[in-house]
C-alpha cells in the first residue's frame, strides 16, 4: 500500500509546471533542459528551465517525468522550489529539501528526490557548458549493474545524506534494489567511507598531538590532495560545486574552482573558509590558497 502524504498525492493528481518549455528566440532569455534516469530503472526526468541571462535567474521551470507517483510529485515540487531563484541558489537545493517540501517521502522512494536534484544539476551544468561527466560520477567503478550506479555516486549520496546501510543506499539511488548481487560491494563502499573518516580523524589527532618533522614536498602535496578529496570536495559538491588541485608552489596552493563554485559570487569566501582554513588546519598553518 502507498504511504504518501497529502502533498505528494495532490502534486501527483494535480501536478504543477508539467510540460516542456519551447525554445525561445528572445534576446536575454535562454531555454535549457537536463535529463536523468533510465528506462531500465523505470524513472526518468527531463527538467526544462527558462533563464534570464543577465540576472542568472530561473524565470520558469517545467518537467516531464516517466515514473511513479513520487517521481511525478518530486518533479513538480522541484519546479516549485526553484522558480525565481538564481542558478547558484538553485544549485543549493538538495534532495532533502524536495522531500521536505512534499512532507516527506517513503524511504524506499527517496531516489525520486535524488533524481530531481540531479536533473537540476544536469540542466544548469548544461547551460553553463560544464561537462556533466566530469563533475558526475561516471568515472568511478560501476557498483550496481542493474541500475548503472557507480561507486562515486554512492559515496556522494551517502556523504550528503548520512547514509550508513545498504538499504538506505537502495532507497536513495536504487543501487542494490534489483538482483541485489551488488549488496556486498555497496557494503564495502560504506565501510571504506567510514574507515576513511576514522583514519583521517585519527591522523589529524596524531598530528596535533606530536610535533611533526617538516613535510617533504611530496608528502605535502599528497596530504593536500587527500584533504581536498575527502573533506573539501564532498562539501562543495553537495552545493553543486567542486575544486581541483592545480599546483603547489612553496606554501601557495593553486586550485581551480568548478561547477557552481566557479561562477559563484561568494567564491572568495568559499576559497578562504572552505578550502584554505581547512588545509591550514589539516596540513600546514602557513598555507595560502589561491584560485587560478
Amino acid at each position: 500500500m502507498w504511504d504518501y502524504t497529502d502533498k505528494v498525492l495532490d502534486l501527483f493528481y494535480n501536478p504543477k509546471n508539467q510540460g516542456a518549455i519551447a525554445p525561445c528566440e528572445e534576446p536575454g532569455i535562454a531555454v535549457v533542459f537536463g535529463e536523468v534516469g533510465s528506462i531500465a530503472c523505470g524513472d526518468a526526468l527531463r527538467l526544462h528551465l527558462q533563464i534570464d541571462i543577465a540576472s542568472d535567474k530561473i524565470l520558469d521551470a517545467r518537467f516531464q517525468t516517466f515514473g511513479c507517483t513520487s517521481a511525478i510529485a518530486s518533479s513538480s515540487a522541484l519546479t516549485e522550489l526553484i522558480k525565481g531563484l538564481t542558478l547558484d541558489a538553485a544549485l543549493h537545493v538538495t534532495n532533502k529539501e524536495i522531500a521536505d517540501y512534499l512532507g516527506g517521502l517513503p524511504e524506499a522512494k527517496m531516489h525520486c528526490s535524488v533524481m530531481g536534484q540531479e536533473a537540476l544539476e544536469a540542466a544548469i551544468y548544461k547551460y553553463r557548458g560544464i561537462e556533466i561527466e566530469h563533475h558526475e560520477e561516471d568515472e568511478g567503478a560501476l557498483i550496481c549493474a542493474c541500475y548503472g550506479v557507480s561507486e562515486n555516486k554512492i559515496r556522494r549520496v551517502a556523504i550528503e545524506n548520512n547514509l550508513t546501510t545498504v538499504e538506505q543506499v537502495t532507497s536513495y539511488v536504487k543501487a542494490g534494489g534489483g538482483c541485489s548481487s551488488c549488496a556486498a560491494a555497496i557494503e564495502d563502499v560504506l565501510t571504506d567511507l567510514y574507515k576513511e573518516a576514522k583514519t583521517l580523524a585519527a591522523e589529524i589527532a596524531l598530528r596535533e598531538a606530536i610535533p611533526q618533522p617538516p613535510l617533504t614536498i611530496v608528502q605535502k602535496i599528497t596530504l593536500i590532495q587527500r584533504v581536498l578529496d575527502e573533506e573539501v570536495r564532498p562539501v562543495l559538491m553537495a552545493d553543486g560545486g567542486d575544486v581541483e588541485l592545480y599546483d603547489v608552489e612553496g606554501n601557495t596552493v593553486k586550485v581551480v574552482l568548478k561547477g557552481a563554485c566557479g561562477s559563484c559570487s561568494s567564491s572568495t569566501a568559499t576559497l578562504k573558509i572552505a578550502v584554505e582554513a581547512r588545509l591550514q588546519e589539516r596540513v600546514l598553518p602557513t598555507l595560502v590558497v589561491e584560485a587560478i
Binding site: 502507498w2 501527483f12 493528481y13 501536478p15 508539467q18 510540460g19 516542456a20 535529463e35 533510465s38 528506462i39 531500465a40 530503472c41 523505470g42 524513472d43 526518468a44 526526468l45 527531463r46 516531464q64 517525468t65 516517466f66 515514473g67 511513479c68 507517483t69 517521481a71 511525478i72 524506499a108 542493474c146 541500475y147 537502495t170 536504487k174 534494489g177 534489483g178 538482483c179
Partner: protein, 399 residues
C-alpha cells in the same frame, strides 16, 4: 466508494456460502480434531468431509490430500519432499517465471549443491519442450513448474512436461495455485506427483492450502511433530479454514462452467482497452492463458502511477512493475519474456472472478483512457517518442 476488484490473482473475496460453512468451526465446534472425545470427533469428521470435497475437484483420492497453511508451504514441502525421496539425484528443472516461493527455494538448493536449470520462456511466456528435454538427465530428481502464471495467466502444457519428466524417472511437481478452480484437473489420469494449491485464490480465506501427494509417492514431511495429516504435516489443523477450503472446492466445481462467462468479460475488457488506447499490448499468450487474467503493457508510462490513478476510483488492479511490489526490480516474469522496458514498467494485471460484472468492466473501460492520456502527457518519452528512449533501449539490449 464502491470497490471494483480486479485483483483476484492476488486474493479473492471469501464466498458468503464458504463463510457460512466455516463459522460454526470458529464458534460452537471448537474441539480439537485429534481429541478422543466425540466433541473433537465431530470436528475431525468435518475435516474428512472437506478432504473429500477437495479430492473430488482435483480428481484425486481423499488420502492424497494434505492440508497446509498456504501455497508457499505447499511448494516448499513438495520440493524438499521430492528431493529427500531421491537422495541419489541432484538436478532440478524449473522455469524462470515461477513464483518466488519456488525460485527462492531453488536458489537456496543451489547453494546446497543442487544443479538447477531455469527454463526460459518465449515472448508469449511459453516454455519450449525441446529445451526441457535437453535439460533432463538420469540425475534429474525433480521437475517443478507452474500450471498457470500468476502475472500473465500463461498456461503451461503440464501433461507434456510431466510425460517428459517421467521418461527420465524424475518427480513432477506442479504449482497450481492460480489454476485450481479455473482449469480442469484430473489427477487420476495425470503425470503429476505433487500439486500445490491455496485456498484464498478460490474464494476461501487466507491461511489454508493443500498439497496433493500421489499415492505411493515417497514423501518426507517438512513439518515434524504430531500425527496430523497422517504424519505428513504436523500441527493442529486450521479447522475452519479447511472446512472453508472444502466448501470453496465444491463451489468451484459447480461454477466451473461460469469461467466461460469470466472469460467473456476478460476478453471484453482486454479488447476494449486495446481498441481505445494506443501503444499498448497484451503480455502473455493469445490463447494458452487463464480465462480470468489479462496483463497489458502501456508504453511510456509507469505502472504504479496507473494503479494509484485507478485507486482513486476504487479500482483495484496490480502491476508487475517495480514500484508496487516493494522491490525495485521490474517483474522477473515480463523480463524473462523479453518485454521491452518501455512497456514493462507500464504493465498492469487485471484478474477477474466469478463476481466480476459487465458494469465493472465497462467502468474500467471508461476510466482507463483518460488516465493513460494524463500520465502520457506528463511523460517525456511520449512527447517526442524520444530518440533518448530509443538509444537507451538499444544500449540496454546490447548489454
Amino acid at each position: 466508494m464502491n470497490i471494483i476488484y480486479f485483483d483476484n490473482n492476488a486474493t479473492t473475496q471469501v464466498d458468503p456460502i464458504v463463510l457460512e460453512a466455516m463459522l460454526p468451526y470458529l464458534q460452537e465446534y471448537y474441539g480439537n480434531p485429534s481429541s478422543m472425545h466425540s466433541f473433537g470427533g465431530q470436528v475431525s469428521k468435518a475435516i474428512q468431509a472437506a478432504r473429500s470435497q477437495l479430492a473430488s475437484l482435483l480428481g484425486a483420492e481423499d488420502s492424497e490430500i494434505v492440508f497446509t497453511s498456504c501455497g508457499t508451504e505447499g511448494n516448499n514441502t513438495a520440493i524438499r519432499a521430492a528431493l529427500a525421496a531421491q537422495p541419489d539425484r541432484d538436478r532440478i528443472i524449473t522455469t524462470q517465471v515461477e513464483h518466488a516461493c519456488v525460485l527462492n527455494v531453488c536458489k537456496q538448493l543451489e547453494k546446497q549443491g543442487y544443479t538447477v536449470t531455469y527454463l526460459s520462456v518465449d515472448r508469449h511466456g511459453q516454455i519450449d519442450l525441446t529445451e526441457l528435454e535437453a535439460a533432463l538427465t538420469g540425475s534429474t530428481a525433480l521437475v517443478t513448474t507452474m500450471y498457470a502464471n500468476n502475472e500473465t495467466g500463461v498456461v503451461f502444457p503440464i501433461e507434456e512436461i510431466g510425460a517428459l519428466a517421467k521418461s527420465y524417472g524424475a518427480a513432477f511437481h506442479v504449482d497450481a495455485v492460480q489454476a485450481v478452480g479455473k482449469l480442469p484437473l484430473n489427477l487420476k489420469t495425470s503425470t503429476i506427483d505433487l500439486l500445490t494449491l491455496s485456498g484464498h485464490k478460490l474464494h476461501a480465506p487466507k491461511g489454508v492450502g493443500a498439497l496433493y501427494v500421489r499415492r505411493g509417492f515417497r514423501f518426507r514431511p517438512l513439518l515434524l511433530g504430531g500425527h496430523q495429516e497422517r504424519g505428513r504435516r504436523a500441527g493442529t489443523e486450521n479447522v475452519a479454514g479447511i472446512v472453508a477450503l472444502g466448501k470453496a472446492a465444491e463451489l468451484a466445481q459447480q461454477h466451473f462452467q461460469s469461467t466461460t462467462l469470466e472469460q467473456q468479460l476478460r476478453d471484453r475488457l482486454e479488447q476494449g482497452l486495446l481498441a481505445t488506447i494506443s501503444d499498448c499490448q497484451v503480455n502473455g499468450h493469445p490463447t494458452q492463458r487463464l480465462p480470468n487474467t489479462t496483463n497489458i503493457g502501456f508504453k511510456y508510462i509507469e505502472g504504479e502511477a496507473i494503479l494509484l490513478s485507478l485507486n482513486q476510483y476504487g479500482v483495484c488492479a496490480s502491476s508487475g512493475s517495480a514500484c508496487t511490489s516493494g522491490s525495485l526490480e521490474p517483474s522477473h516474469v515480463l523480463r524473462a519474456m523479453g518485454i521491452p522496458y518501455t512497456i514493462l514498467h507500464g504493465s498492469i494485471r487485471f484478474s477477474l472472478s466469478r463476481y466480476t460484472t459487465a458494469a465493472e468492466v465497462d467502468r474500467v473501460l471508461e476510466l482507463m483512457p483518460p488516465i493513460i492520456e494524463r500520465l502520457r502527457a506528463i511523460s517525456p518519452f511520449n512527447s517526442d517518442r524520444a530518440d533518448w528512449l530509443q538509444d537507451r533501449e538499444e544500449a540496454l539490449a546490447s548489454k
